[in-house]
């Protein structure tokens, strides 16, 4: 059984359907990557899982129990097992609490410990993220971005979570710091058998961190694959476009890349049928005979319980044919 299963999740903000029928699963100790442009609904999924946004439809199952219908003590207990780390380490820490105090808050809430034990535990948690235990007396403004993100990680570990949602946790950091934080997260995952939902717009980071990857476009998952497969043989043209957009350390750029034209459409008015057909370099824009993309929603026919690509004309199978 998966640690987390999301089934047919829909999240609406007023008239905007930010997440539209999304399903995926994360095994215990595994990492699922979630990529897509801004406005694709990645962060909304994260917020729905930690109950900061309300699921309009669908199920969010933690070890088979649905969070969306749980309440009272059950809900509290389940919530403590799911934690989230935010993108901006400058705004996710309360500037008025010392590092020790903010970890102490969590220990008080979730762990039945005496004051002296908590003090020991705070030191242990800080050492775990490679910070000096003496930093407990300092305030967030005294730390660099990377150190703050380490503090956020230590605070998260304090509640002994099983699933951690990492929402763009390294995008505000310098590359050298980013590498250290990614390494730390992977070490902690191995040590505590954590499951990660790793959200990022940076495909190379997602590739490094994830076992499998979901690619999102306008509130839908267009492709879900094992990481190696996805990057070696993307089936959905949007995935291909995203991969092509990343700078590849090739001087002058990769000459073979097929650039994505245009920008993500207004999510209030998503295009009908395949939502990507207005930008697809292999769709009706380039091949007028591919009218199906305009008329028939590829998501309609797919079994979403396993890996898939929501495309009528997937790239790999085209080549094989």
């Amino acid at each position: 059984m998966n640690k987390l299963d999301v089934r047919d999740l829909v999240v609406r903000y007023g008239r905007l359907t930010a997440v539209d029928g999304v399903s995926f699963g994360i095994p215990a100790g595994g990492t699922l990557g979630l990529v897509g442009e801004s406005g694709s609904g990645k962060s909304t999924i994260a917020r729905a899982i930690v109950q900061l946004a309300k699921a309009g439809r669908g199920q969010i199952l933690l070890d088979g129990m649905d969070i969306t219908v749980a309440h009272g003590a059950d809900l509290n207990e389940m919530r403590s097992r799911i934690q989230m780390i935010f993108q901006d380490p400058y705004s996710s820490l309360n500037p008025r609490l010392s590092v020790g105090a903010m970890i102490d808050e969590v220990l008080r809430r979730h762990r039945n410990m005496k004051a002296a034990q908590r003090r020991l535990e705070i030191g242990r948690l800080l050492e775990m993220v490679a910070l000096d235990p003496l930093f407990a007396d300092r305030y967030p403004h005294q730390f660099s971005g990377g150190q703050r993100q380490r503090i956020a990680i230590a605070r998260t570990l304090a509640s002994q979570p099983e699933l951690v949602i990492l929402d763009e946790v390294v995008s505000a950091l310098d590359v050298s710091v980013q590498a250290a934080i990614l390494n730390l997260l992977r070490d902690l995952q191995r040590e505590f058998r954590l499951s990660f939902l790793f959200i990022s717009h940076d495909l190379s980071v997602v590739r490094y961190m994830s076992d499998s990857v979901c690619v999102m476009y306008l509130g839908q998952i267009v492709e879900w694959k094992e990481t190696e497969d996805l990057f070696r043989q993307p089936e959905h043209p949007y995935t291909q476009g995203l991969i092509d957009s990343i700078p590849k350390m090739i001087a002058g750029g990769d000459p073979n890349r097929i650039p994505l034209r245009g920008e993500i459409p207004d999510p209030h008015f998503p295009p009908p049928a395949c939502r990507f057909h207005t930008r697809c370099p292999f769709g009706p824009l380039a091949h007028p005979e591919r009218n199906r993309c305009r008329e028939d929603d590829p998501h309609r026919l797919i079994d979403k319980s396993e890996h898939y690509a929501a495309c009528h004309f997937p790239l790999v199978r085209q080549e094989l044919a």
């Binding site: 705070i122 971005g145 509640s159 590359v175 990614l182 590739r207 995203l242």
Partner: protein, 807 residues
């Protein structure tokens, strides 16, 4: 790694004396804290002691024979129309005035904050209704509502308090609402909720502490406003009744005789003013005390001497002006015949001479008095000027203070002399003089020790430095467009000077795209800002020369420079939304620069704008030009920014992280646009980015910056093959490559970038470098050629030591 001391090993200090708590130290970290404490102490003492020290008789007893007198030794501020002492009555009114103001403000604060907080947590529609109600109430001036309410509840002191308490609450409710709503949306509140903390705890530990500062400042300002309002009601006869009187009622009595005895109204008015000032300072200082970012910055504050801390130019100016004003107000009343040599008592000249023989010093005293007054006027004038020119601020402040001391001592001496105690008068006058003298010497010493005072002001101009030390770096580029030598950006901070850009030499050839890469704090953006004359305030930019198209911009006048840079250089920033004016149409913003610089007709301008929009691939340009920035998406805005930069056909575009805020797909498009512009129009581009991938993609050459210096200058084609600076090597290794092994940990750079105010002695990268050897800690490596197109600042590459090559 040796075991670090555990957190639990450390004994938390159990008891800290109040004056040693971080709160109190931050409270006093600025002169206004002292001032607040001092003034509040006086106010409090007055309110407490006045009713005890002054008998009812002294305050109420009429003495018609001595009515409407000027200041004298018996009645320091003179008497009112019934012969009562003005000073005593003003002091006696203190407790009642404060009591009324505090109760009115307290009521307004309680009602207002509660209403605001409740509103913030109401569900959507109800919240809007409540908010509109508050706003409607805000539309009426508070004092008018108060007057109306007084008519309802009856004219009495209690009525006035009630009326003002209610009338002032909407504005406080609005503030409380805005603050609570603003904080509620922040990430740390969201993370507290995810961590499962209870609502009560979130409010107590996360929301209130983060808005407390503003609430305190607002509350104390509201108290000051309430004091004015209660006094106004009393002044109008709607407040305090009967034999009671507060400052407002005293003003009523005084206004009728404003031209005979101005002090009658001025004294209570001054009391209101001082109380307002006290509350303002107190709020500011309390807010500072509650801010933990100041609890730990005391180190940098303490690095200044106590003299510098408490005698900052602002305090000087303030105290000087205050003393001056006092002197000006009181001189005429104390010695109306000061110009009569026979009756002049003690003056500055007598003090200077140290002699008590008044007749001999009488004439000298006239001269001294005249000088004093002239000096005071000049100081006052300079004081006003100082607000416009930073360079004069300190100087003016000192002059003001000195003259103030002089005038003050003169005033004291006359005051005492009038009471026929000549000896005491002389003593105090001398004391005043010596104090003034000591202050003067201290201050002059400070002027000379503070060199930065004279260099401030013209900060955003590059100062040419002497050419004697110019190294004509042999970067013989074929067609140099930009040549920069010795570019330095310096900030003189309280903790010492730092140079985030330190003696940079760089050349850009015509038609090149050069990348500048480095971590945050490496100085890459500041280099760009320095070239564009946009370094923020206290920064000082200097260079041996900066030649653009062969012309040295460090030696141009401001007008020339503006014109030259406007037509030759364009700058593109990271966040296109904040660099476009949201109130103007895109078309207007696009045509702004060429309208000024090229004097084109409207039609030509429009055609040019359409061309540029086409260059950056914005379709439906006609329609787009008529739209506002908010109608553009992020990528479109960045295209519009580039189009705007292109309007004057600049020879150089400096792009500072132009794609960092954009999605990868849009980033790829913007990179393509920049590349096209470079190829088709031959525009030179300097691209600043933290992302070495972007740089490799588009640039032909890359400059790597670390701690304010260029550490490597290399062709992109060589970047992945040849021996590099260890920092460049580490930067590239830290990027998760697309074909890297996912099972291996990423190469990270240990440690963190050095603090600019504490750079290591040798190579700044040495503490993090894995190839470091002894020499690296001793001297800083210069940027030297290893090949014709490759410069490195690293001993390992330029002069490798024997043992290091083994590695």
């Amino acid at each position: 790694m040796s075991r670090a001391p555990a957190y639990s090993d450390v004994q938390a200090p159990i008891y800290l004396a109040f004056w040693r708590t971080p709160f109190f130290r931050a409270f006093l970290s600025s002169p206004s804290g002292f001032l607040a404490l001092f003034l509040a102490g006086i106010l409090f003492a007055t309110a407490l002691l006045a009713p005890l020290a002054l008998t009812k008789e002294e305050v109420y007893q009429r003495n018609v024979r001595r009515r409407l007198e000027g200041p004298s030794a018996d009645h320091i501020l003179g008497t009112d129309n019934l012969g009562r002492d003005i000073l005593k009555r003003t002091l006696y009114a203190t407790p009642l005035s404060l009591q009324l103001a505090l109760s009115a403000a307290g009521m307004a604060i309680v009602i207002g904050f509660a209403a605001g907080a409740v509103t913030a947590y109401l569900p959507g529609r109800l919240r809007n209704v409540a908010l509109r109600l508050i706003e409607i109430m805000l539309a009426f001036p508070g004092i008018l509502i108060a007057i109306m309410l007084v008519a309802v509840v009856g004219t009495s002191a209690e009525g006035a308090v009630l009326a003002i308490g209610i009338a002032f609450s909407p504005s406080l409710a609005r503030v409380a609402y805005t603050l609570a709503a603003g904080v509620a949306g922040l990430d740390y509140i969201a993370s507290a909720r995810v961590l499962g903390l209870s609502s009560r705890r979130i409010v107590a530990r996360y929301i209130i502490p983060n808005i407390a500062e503003t609430l305190i400042v607002v509350s104390l300002n509201a108290t000051a406003a309430a004091l004015v309002a209660v006094s106004s009601l009393s002044f109008l006869g709607l407040g305090v009744q009967g034999t009671q009187f507060d400052w407002g009622r005293l003003i009523t009595e005084g206004v009728l005789r404003l031209y005979q005895v101005p002090l009658l109204a001025l004294a209570p008015a001054t009391a209101i003013g001082i109380t307002g000032l006290t509350l303002g300072y107190l709020g500011e200082a309390l807010a500072r005390g509650l801010n933990p970012t100041l609890w730990t910055q005391t180190a940098s504050v303490q690095s200044r001497s106590w003299l510098q801390r408490y005698f900052s130019s602002e305090t000087m100016l303030l105290s000087g002006s205050a003393l001056l004003l006092i002197a000006f107000y009181f001189l005429p009343w104390f010695s109306p015949d000061a110009l009569d040599p026979n009756r002049t008592l003690v003056t500055g000249a007598a003090i200077l001479a140290g002699r008590a023989n008044l007749t001999e010093t009488a004439i000298g005293s006239q001269v001294a008095l005249l000088l004093l007054r002239t000096g005071a006027w000049i100081a006052l004038l300079l004081g006003f000027l100082s607000y416009f020119s930073l360079r004069f601020r300190r100087l003016c402040a000192y002059l003001g203070l000195i003259c103030g001391f002089g005038a003050g001592s003169y005033f004291v001496s006359i005051l005492l002399a009038d009471s026929t105690n000549l000896g005491a008068a002389l003593a105090s006058a001398r004391l005043g003089f010596y104090l003034g003298l000591i202050a003067t010497i201290l201050l002059i010493a400070q002027v000379f020790s503070d060199k930065s005072a004279t260099t401030r002001g013209s900060h955003n101009v590059i100062h040419p430095t002497s050419q004697a030390s110019v190294v004509e770096a042999d970067m013989s580029l074929p067609r140099p467009l930009l040549q920069v030598r010795g570019l330095t950006v310096r900030f003189d901070l309280e903790s010492g000077a730092i140079a985030p850009v330190n003696d940079i030499n760089l050349d850009l050839a015509e038609g090149e795209i050069v990348g500048v890469v480095g971590e945050s704090g490496s100085g890459k953006s500041l280099t760009a800002l320095a070239l564009a004359q946009l370094v923020p305030h206290p920064g000082i930019v200097s260079a041996h020369y900066v030649r653009l198209r062969g012309e040295d911009i460090t030696r141009m006048s401001a007008g020339q420079l503006r014109y030259f840079l406007g037509s030759e250089m364009a700058m593109i920033f990271q966040d296109p939304m904040s660099s476009l004016n949201p109130a103007l149409k895109i078309g207007t913003q696009l045509t702004e620069a060429p309208r000024v610089h090229r004097r084109l007709s409207g039609k030509d301008l429009h055609r040019l704008a359409l061309d540029r929009m086409a260059d950056v691939h914005i379709s439906a340009a006609e329609r787009r030009l008529r739209q506002y920035p908010h109608e553009f998406s992020g990528g479109m805005r960045q295209r519009a920014m580039i189009a705007m930069g292109l309007m004057n056909s600049p020879s150089l575009i400096i792009a500072d992280e132009p794609t960092t805020a954009l999605d990868v797909t849009i980033q790829a498009q913007i990179i393509d646009v920049l590349r096209e512009i470079n190829q088709e129009q031959g525009t030179t581009i300097m691209l600043i980015s933290h992302d070495i991938g972007v740089i490799v993609e588009i640039c032909s050459r890359v400059l790597v910056m670390y701690a304010g210096r260029i550490v490597e200058d290399v062709k992109v084609t060589d970047l992945l093959t040849t021996d590099k600076h260890p920092y460049t090597e580490a930067l590239i290794a830290a990027v998760p490559a697309f074909d890297s092994n996912r099972d291996e940990p990423l190469a990270s750079i240990p440690g963190r970038p050095p603090d600019l105010d504490n750079l290591p002695a040798g190579c700044a990268f040495a503490p993090r470098c894995k190839y470091v050897f002894e020499r690296c800690h001793r001297e800083a490596p210069p940027l030297l050629h290893v090949e014709e197109t490759h410069r490195i600042a690293c001993f390992l590459r330029t002069e490798p030591p024997a043992e290091a090559t083994r590695e």
